[in-house]
Every structure is written in C-alpha cells, then in structure tokens.
C-alpha cells in the first residue's frame, strides 16, 4: 500500500520539476530570479510580464493539459477495447481533426479561430461516422469499432492528401504539414483557457467512471452480468474521450504516440490498471509532452522542431523495451 503512494509522489514531483524547467526555457531569456519576481507579482518589466503570462506559462500549462488528456484517453481506449495497441486515434479523431484544419487552411479561412472550430468539429464527426458504421454492421463488438476506425481514418487521410495536392506549396502546404506534426508554439493564454474549460468536463467524468471503464475491459457479456450496460457505456465513453482529444488536437495539431505510450509506461510503473491508473497515465502523458517540448525548443537555437518528432523518438525506445518484456505474450 505504501509503495503505491510513494510512486504517486515521485511522479507528481517529477512533473512539477519538469514544469518549472519548462518555464525557464524560451527565446526570451528569463532567469529563475526574474520568474520568481513575476510569479510573486513584484516584477516591473512589462514586456517580461506579458511574455511570461501570455506565452510562457500558458504554453507549459497547455503541455500539461494536452498530456493529461492524451494520456487518459489512451488509457481509456486500451481498456474499453481490451487492446494494448489501442490509441486515441482509433476512432479517427486525429485524422478527422487534421482534415478539418487542412480544410480551413485551404479554403483560406486559416484564421486560428476557424481552424480550431474546424478541427474540433471534424474530429467529433469522425467518431460519429465510426458509430454509424458500427451500427450499420449490426455487430457492436470491440473489433468492429477498431475496423470502422481504421476505415474512417483512412478516408480522412486520403482527403488530406487531396488537400495537400491542391494547396499552394509555399504557404498552405507548409502550414498543413506543420500543423499535422503538432506544436505548442501557437499557444496563448486564450487558447489555454478555452482548452482547460472544454476538456475539464469530460476529463473529470472519465476519471469518475474509472471502475466502469475497467469493467468494460472484461468483455461486453461479463460487463453486462456485472450490471453495466456495455454498449451504451462504451459509446458514452467514446464521446467523452473524443471530445477531450478533439479539443487538444484542435489547439496543438497532432502530437503522436503520447496516447499510445503513456498508458504502457504507467502500467510498467504501477503494475495495475485499476485505482490511479488513468490519472498516472495522464501525468506520464504530460511528462512526455513537456519534456518533448523542452527539447523542441532547445535542440536548435532560435528554432522550434515540431513536437511529434520528439515524442516519437522519445517514446520508441520505451515501446521497444515494452515489446521485449512481452516476449511471447503479445496476442
């Protein structure tokens, strides 16, 4: 019992340290002293205040939120599909949202607000199409969802290819590509606040339903015998997670792998999928994104790499490690 609490504390502590480190990094040089002055409200440097509160702090908090959302979503998906390879993009959220953004860019609407709305709506639409497809086939089995998700993702990806083909290579194409690779660079205070309020509801609801989510992982029939209406619950959970993930993707673009990797790391640490699994998965997600973002900003002086590059390079060794540990147990 005590060991579990200890792990919790270590992870949260590590997260706080990474947050602080992240606040220190940036092209606008702020020393630790200056930051302390800023936080305590005693700073007189107007520009520093602006940079810190409208750019730096929201960016770090956004990384925290994004990681939390993606990590929790990944853990939830793995459980409701009883599949350790399930990721938040299984229902085509990321592909749909990318399509929405590409649409906004190519139509010329490209303003930040319109892109956000576009990608959010399309991300949710992807899920609705998946549900429609599943209902049409009549079989509500977990595998059907996975198959439908693959189909919808593929359709969205193909549509994105069309947009890339017809877009202006100098401006639009570059913008689309950059968005698809994910970044925290465009995050300001407003972005972060909107994200916070939009994702809090589904996040809290999902965390409260942890037990039911674990029960879904037992299989539809068994869940039903235990008193859980598996089919409606699964759809409700899918809607909540997609809402959460679509919010994030609309703001930051597609940050790859976090939702896939964070739950695995969380399980490696906790050895359990019940209890604080969802929350720890979220914390690990935040860690991955924040560390990735720190590297994205500091590897090349003055420039910023897209976030997904780092999250992928980061997570792959962990994934390989996991695969080796499985050795023969991969179903």
């Amino acid at each position: 019992m005590k060991k579990k609490h200890l792990k919790w504390i270590y992870i949260v502590l590590f997260l706080l340290i990474v947050c602080c480190g992240s606040l220190l990094i940036g092209s606008y040089h702020l020393s630790l002293d200056e930051i302390l002055l800023l936080i305590s409200g005693q700073s007189t440097d107007v520009m520093a205040q602006q940079v810190f509160y409208t750019l730096r702090m929201p960016r770090v908090l956004m990384g925290l939120l994004a990681g939390m959302a993606l990590g929790v979503a990944g853990a939830v998906y793995q459980m409701i599909f009883s599949n350790p390879l399930a990721s938040p993009d299984l229902t085509g959220v990321a592909s749909g949202a990318s399509l929405g953004a590409a649409l906004a860019i190519v139509i010329g609407a490209g303003s930040a607000f319109e892109m956000i709305i576009g990608s959010f709506v399309m991300g949710l639409l992807a899920l609705l199409f998946v549900i429609l497809l599943v209902k049409m086939t009549g079989s509500q089995h977990a595998t059907t969802y996975i198959l439908a998700g693959i189909i919808i993702s593929a359709l969205a990806d193909a549509s994105i290819m069309i947009f890339k083909y017809i877009s202006d290579p100098l401006g639009e194409l570059a913008a689309i590509e950059f968005w698809i690779m994910g970044s925290l660079s465009a995050i300001t205070l407003n972005h972060m606040l909107i994200t916070f309020f939009s994702m809090m509801i589904p996040l809290v609801l999902l965390l409260l339903c942890h037990r039911q989510i674990v029960m879904l992982s037992l299989g539809d029939d068994n869940a039903r015998y235990l008193g859980l209406n598996a089919q409606t619950f699964r759809i409700a959970v899918l809607l909540l997670t997609t809402w959460m993930v679509a919010t994030i993707v609309a703001m930051t673009g597609v940050i790859s792998f976090v939702g896939l990797i964070a739950p695995h790391i969380a399980y490696l640490i906790l050895k359990k999928r019940t209890g604080s699994f969802l929350l720890i998965s979220g914390c690990i997600g935040s860690l991955i994104i924040l560390v990735g973002d720190m590297l994205a900003r500091s590897l090349i002086p003055g420039a910023e790499l897209p976030l997904s590059i780092l999250t992928i390079f980061f997570s792959t060794p962990v994934f390989i490690f996991w695969m080796m540990k499985q050795r023969g147990r991969i179903q």
Binding site: Q50, Y53, L55, S111, D168, L170, S185, L193, L207, L208
Partner: protein
C-alpha cells in the same frame, strides 16, 4: 474515497494555478502620433517613427534596404544568408537574430528584441495579434501587385518617418513605367515566363509576373489562362503558345541550357531564335513584387526594344538605382541576360 479526493485536490491545485494567470497586467494605452491602416485592414498605431524594426520575410527586408533604413533592423528572417543582396548592401544584416519564416515566428525571440515595429506578410497575420497583445506594433503587408507594392512602401515609409524616400521610389517607378509605355509598336512580342520550380508552369494574367511583361511592352502568352497562381501547362500547350521569347526567373531551379537541351522544345520559336533569357541572378528576385522589381521590367524592356533602350543604358540605370536607393555600387558583371 482516496480516488475522489485525489481528483478533487488536483482540481484545486490546477484552479490555483489559473488564478495566478488571472492577475495578468494589462498594457496601458498611450497617445498616438502615427496611425496607419495596413494591408490586412488592421489599424496600426505608433508613438513615433520606428527606430527598431523586425522584418519577418525577405520582401520587407528588401523594403528597408530600398528605403535606406536597414540599419534600424534588429531582427531578420531565417536563411538571410541565402539572399546575396544583404552581403552587398548591408553586411550587418547577416549578423542579426533570425526570428521568422513563412511557416512560423519565434514570438519570444521577437519580444526579447523589444522592437518598435514588426513587419510581417499576410500569411502570418494570426501572429500579429499575439505581438500586439505584448505591446509591439505590427504592420502586415501583402505586396502581390505593383499597386500593393507601392502601398507597402508608403506604409513602411510613414511608420518609419521616411515618407519622402518612399515617395521618391514610387516616383521613380512611375517615371520608368511612363518611359516604357511610350514605345509604340504594331505587334507585341509574345513572352512566356516559367516558374521557379518548373518551366512547365507559368503565370496567368492576375499575377504580378504577367503585369511585369505587359508593363515592359510585351504580351503574356498565358494571359488567358485561368487561375491566381502558377499554373501547370503541358508541352502541347506550350508548343501551341509558341512564344517569341522565353523568360526564366531569377530563382529558377533550371537553366537556359536546360531549355535548349529539352528535345520536346526544339521546335519552339524562342528556342530556334535563341531568345531564351534568364533574369540576372545574384542580386534580387526581379521577377517578384519587390522594391527593385521595376528593374526586372526594365530588363525585359531592354530585351524587347534594344534600339529604344539599350542594354548599356539599362546597366547604367541599375547602377544609379542601387546607388540612390540602396547606397552601394552594384557589380556590373551581375547584369546578365
């Protein structure tokens, strides 16, 4: 029990963090002395003419060079070392901090430079608000046509207190255009201009390059093509157009020799009469709407009407231009065709 408590405490911690943000200081409004409407229809206000400028892409940097205020630059666009004119006109530019490109802007780096004014293209319009929120004025420009180019120079001139220079430039343009339009001829030569990436792409009538051709006294074979951007043509279409003259832009990825070597273009009139020319490289991109773009028009005019406007006269005009506006002596050997 522990489960819910953990969620609640996380909630409280996060809400506390957000209350910190709620106390962001607001920027105070000050009395303004310069008010402009930029090319994104935004209202731009400056206390006084800008002394520290950040330029986010090459066209605005060229503009500062042509208006003689390039010394005021504190930040420049990425890959500045790839523009030969900087080396020639103002080497200090190469040492400036590179803060942006058409894809992205490093907002924090710009903020750290504490500029009085940031010049950025329409494509980056979204970032303008972030900078204005930080208290930094932003001038958004969109020089797609000659008129818009002149407007841009006038706006930058006003913002930096060098309106007279901007006026001088636009008067120069007008003088040259008037001179070129005086040429009377019964038949206009047909001209085909290739794109940078491929000579099987050309400019329809709505593009700056087409206006350039018309102003120089030629006729754009592609002027009836539909579109607002570089349009692909097939070999057949090109052969059907059969232009009198084939122009390659400064930054082309192919050469005059490539055109001559292409077996499918052997029957082209321009190839057979050896009328394939490339705009001079190693200075600026005269085929785009940049401040020295007028020179591109004049270059073409000289090729079309050598008896009215000899190439030697043209070279002299170029030398004068760069001396007057950019303040340096251009290397004559760069004047090629």
């Amino acid at each position: 029990m522990g489960h819910k408590r953990k969620i609640l405490s996380l909630f409280v911690v996060v809400t506390m963090m957000f209350s910190l943000i709620a106390c962001t200081p607001k920027t105070s409004t000050q009395s303004t002395q310069i008010e402009l409407t930029d090319q994104a229809k935004r209202l731009v206000t400056l206390k006084q003419p800008a002394q520290k400028i950040v330029s986010c892409y090459y066209i605005t940097t060229y503009a500062t060079l042509s208006l003689g205020i390039s010394d005021r630059l504190v930040g420049i666009e990425k890959k500045a070392e790839s523009r030969p004119i900087y080396q020639m006109a103002n080497q200090k530019l190469l040492n400036l901090k590179q803060v942006g490109s058409l894809k992205e802007l490093n907002i924090e780096a710009i903020a750290e430079l504490k500029p009085d004014l940031v010049l950025m293209p329409l494509k980056l319009k979204e970032k303008a608000q972030i900078l204005t929120d930080l208290g930094i004025p932003v001038l958004v420009v969109n020089p797609e046509t000659h008129e818009q180019l002149v407007e841009m120079l006038s706006l930058i001139g006003k913002a930096c207190g060098v309106e007279d220079k901007a006026k001088q430039l636009s008067e120069y343009y007008q003088t040259q255009i008037d001179k070129m339009s005086k040429v009377k001829t019964n038949s206009f030569k047909t001209i085909y201009m290739g794109a940078n990436s491929s000579y099987l792409e050309t400019a329809p009538a709505s593009m700056y390059q087409s206006t350039l051709i018309e102003m120089a006294g030629g006729m754009n074979v592609a002027k009836d093509l539909k579109g607002d951007y570089w349009t692909k043509v097939s070999y057949e279409t090109l052969l059907k157009m059969n232009p009198d003259m084939f122009i390659i832009p400064t930054g082309a990825s192919y050469t005059i020799q490539d055109i001559f070597n292409d077996p499918q273009l052997k029957t082209l009139k321009a190839v057979q009469t050896q009328s394939v020319y490339q705009m001079p490289q190693g200075i600026e991109e005269w085929d785009s709407p940049i401040p020295s773009g007028i020179l591109g028009t004049m270059w073409l005019h000289s090729l079309l009407y050598p008896e009215n406007y000899s190439f030697d006269t043209f070279e002299k005009d170029v030398k004068d231009f760069y001396q007057t506006f950019y303040g340096f002596d251009i290397d004559q050997s760069l004047m090629t065709k």
